[in-house]
């Protein structure tokens, strides 16, 4: 029996069937039982509490007024996944954080981005670098969702070249005076607690950067206009203005002049957690497309029976699954203490670019309807695009990875074979590598010196990090 389906009823049919179709999304090859339950639980929460608002958030360019999503997510213990239990966190690792990020992003890209900025850029930086007093003061309210967190490093004239930032922090009695601007700060308009990077020594290049904790209401600190963005609408972004803003001594995060370590090491983990964002968006694309190709008929058959559509959907699926595998494998590595900047940049590079392509294909599968804003696909594309830019543009990420590979495979000595498998690491090359277990604290890198090759094994329980010598200096730090 042929049915004539009007556009709007097709749309609502899809929304109803969404729950049904989404059921084959979890990959049991990646997760164990507890992680699957965790994922399912966050999925249910996001589906019931965030997804219904997604479209309106995008249209109105703001979070819903009638519910406090921050508080809801805080009540569900989503903010402090990587924070210690004593502050209200769950004390889990990046794998779980990525799982939560994926499911929230699947419900709404904007909420996902804001959530990522709050829970990883702000909260996790405080967890990793904050003093006990700072953690005690700021974490509980951030984790409960009462306060919103943000992080500001980029400036109007310092994006990719973030180390050239001009925001100054002049030493005064009892603290510092901040002067300057910050740009593209996610959650800026609503944040009560912000991590801000400024130069305490403008002549020292990267070594002159210090990280500060700023509170809303500090005299001299204000936020300028909310930015009108292409996508991620509703995830409020704005410019921050500092005019002789006094910041007390105790609000320095980490050590004076050591801000760049806070920044760079944080960036790796930021890229990892944010890379789950495009994964969620790709999943959301499949959630929309798969029911649609069953419902929509042309030439007497559902369009899902045509090979070209099946090809598109297959490409979307394999992009999603392969990106997902990469993201969660790297997350596992980071949880074991092996944080490799190449892989952290690699996951978000590949996931973001694929997400844009998947979203484009999703629009194509929906055809004319894909071009209509009543369907989610347009929003998914606009949201996906951000991930190629924020947390380091694709170009910068490529530079990071390429340069690392070049440096590591040095010329006439034995090639570096760093096989970061779960159980052993073999290093056969010029130099020694220090083996320390460090899951938190600052992450440093030092170059190899002219010493005899040594090979060693490390067990999963011990992490390792390499220290790169100071001589690489500014060139190593010229990235964001």
């Amino acid at each position: 029996m042929q049915r004539i389906i009007a556009a709007s009823s097709l749309c609502s049919k899809i929304l109803r069937k969404e729950r049904q179709r989404a059921l084959f999304s979890s990959s049991s090859l990646l997760f164990d039982d507890t992680q699957l339950q965790f994922k399912q639980s966050v999925r249910q929460f996001a589906h019931e509490n965030i997804a219904p608002h997604a479209s309106k958030i995008d249209q109105s360019n703001s979070f819903p007024k009638e519910v406090n999503l921050w508080k809801l997510m805080g009540d569900f213990n989503l903010h402090g996944i990587t924070a210690p239990e004593e502050y209200g966190g769950l004390g889990l690792g990046y794998l779980y954080h990525c799982i939560a990020m994926e499911e929230i992003s699947r419900a709404s890209g904007s909420v996902g981005l804001s959530y990522g900025a709050h829970s990883n850029l702000c909260i996790n930086q405080l967890v990793r670098n904050g003093s006990a007093a700072q953690k005690e003061k700021y974490l509980p309210k951030l984790i409960s969702g009462e306060h919103v967190g943000a992080l500001a490093m980029s400036e109007p004239n310092a994006g990719s070249d973030v180390v050239s930032m001009k925001c100054k922090a002049d030493r005064v009695d009892g603290g510092y005076l901040l002067n300057g601007n910050k740009m593209w700060c996610t959650n800026g308009p609503s944040a009560q607690t912000l991590v801000v990077y400024a130069k305490t020594d403008v002549t020292a290049g990267s070594k002159g950067i210090t990280a500060f904790i700023i509170e809303k209401g500090m005299p001299g600190y204000s936020t300028a206009q909310k930015l009108d963005k292409l996508g991620m609408r509703g995830s409020d972004t704005c410019e921050l203005v500092f005019e002789n803003c006094f910041v007390p001594e105790e609000n320095v995060l980490g050590k004076e002049g050591k801000g760049v370590y806070v920044l760079m090491s944080g960036l790796d983990l930021e890229r990892l957690v944010l890379s789950a964002g495009p994964i969620g968006i790709m999943q959301a694309c499949l959630d929309v497309v798969l029911p649609y190709i069953r419902e929509r008929s042309q030439f007497g058959r559902p369009i899902g029976e045509f090979q070209l559509i099946q090809g598109k959907v297959a490409d979307m699926y394999t992009s999603l699954q392969s990106s997902r595998s990469y993201v969660y494998s790297v997350a596992r590595d980071c949880d074991s203490g092996r944080v490799d900047p190449k892989d952290c940049a690699g996951v978000i590079l590949s996931a973001a670019e694929r997400a844009t392509q998947v979203a484009l294909q999703a629009i194509q599968c929906l055809g004319g309807n894909g071009y209509v804003n009543e369907y989610a696909t347009g929003r998914l594309l606009r949201d996906a695009k951000l991930y190629e830019i924020g947390a380091g543009t694709s170009e910068i990420r490529r530079m990071v990875i390429g340069r690392e590979l070049f440096k590591q495979h040095s010329s006439n000595q034995a090639a570096l074979l760093v096989n970061l498998s779960a159980s052993e690491v073999e290093v056969g090359r010029r130099g020694t590598v220090e083996n320390k277990a460090r899951l938190d604290g600052s992450y440093k890198a030092k170059s190899l010196s002219n010493q005899t090759a040594s090979s060693w094994k490390s067990t999963p329980a011990k992490g390792f990090h390499m220290e790169w010598c100071q001589s690489f200096g500014n060139r190593w730090f010229m990235e964001s």
Binding site: M1, R19, Q20, L23, F24, D33, T34, Q37, F38, S41, V42, Q44, F45, F76, N77, L78, I81, L90, L92
Partner: protein
């Protein structure tokens, strides 16, 4: 004690196996039976109000039942029991196994879902009450416990409306849809569930034989709805009713 069953998720589109021996369960999402969730929620509420010390979740079947038990533990059950059985169990066998477990555990209250959404038998609760000789309040839409008097007042949804029964404890209650809204498993509880104990029993240990008195002959989909036919006159209607449908 709460008995829970692992069934095909309610939102999944069911397909019949090509050999018509049953429903396709491979690679299909499975979860806890919705009525069992309601039963577990009720048990947790009773425990939280201080009227019970412990909630034990029980499930019977192959090893993947443990998934369902973990969900139960994540919702808040204190411990779980898994009865290992490789074949599909009919309600009577389940009831006999439950009887043995009740004799071991001595719960004050046995709560089950009214029926499972895969077989819709609606028998286990009633059978176990019969085997134990316990009072039963089935299709419960409201449960109030009085610990001092050791009674449970149960509102039942029956065809005629609502019936209120007063049961002496220990008793069997089976839950209906409107009893409560099951809670989310919170994230901290999901992590804690990993360390809660699941005790395993085998059929031999419990000394229950699986005797299948019933054999599934065939499982087919209901016939597809045929298109309606628009008739042009009453005569045609009478003709069709008489000669095609044979009802007059």
């Amino acid at each position: 004690m709460v008995a829970v069953k692992r069934v095909v998720d309610y939102a999944v589109k069911i397909r019949v196996k090509p050999d018509k021996s049953g429903v396709e369960t491979q690679n299909v999402k499975m979860s806890m039976n919705p009525f069992c969730e309601i039963a577990l929620e009720e048990a947790l509420k009773i425990k939280e109000s201080g009227l019970a010390k412990e909630v034990v979740a029980v499930s019977m079947g192959p090893s993947n039942c443990v998934d369902t038990l973990r969900t139960g533990l994540a919702m808040g059950a204190d411990r779980a029991i898994h009865v290992e059985a490789s074949r599909d169990l009919v309600p009577l066998t389940v009831a006999k196994l439950l009887k043995k477990l009740v004799e071991i555990e001595n719960p004050g209250l046995l709560i089950l879902g009214k029926q499972a959404i895969d077989d819709d038998c609606n028998q286990t609760g009633q059978m176990i009450a019969g085997l134990l000789g316990w009072p039963q309040g089935t299709f419960a839409s409201k449960v109030v416990l009085d610990k001092e008097k050791q009674v449970a007042t149960v509102d039942r949804e029956v065809d005629g409306g609502l019936e209120t029964l007063c049961l002496d404890l220990p008793a069997v209650i089976t839950t209906d849809l409107r009893l409560n809204q099951p809670r989310y498993a919170t994230l901290p509880n999901i992590m804690k569930a990993k360390s809660k104990p699941i005790k395993k029993f085998t059929l031999e240990e419990l000394n229950v034989e699986i005797k299948s008195d019933l054999e599934v002959v065939q499982v087919t989909e209901p016939p597809k709805r045929k298109a309606g036919v628009i008739l042009s006159s009453v005569d045609e209607l009478i003709d069709k009713l008489k000669n095609e449908a044979h009802v007059i």
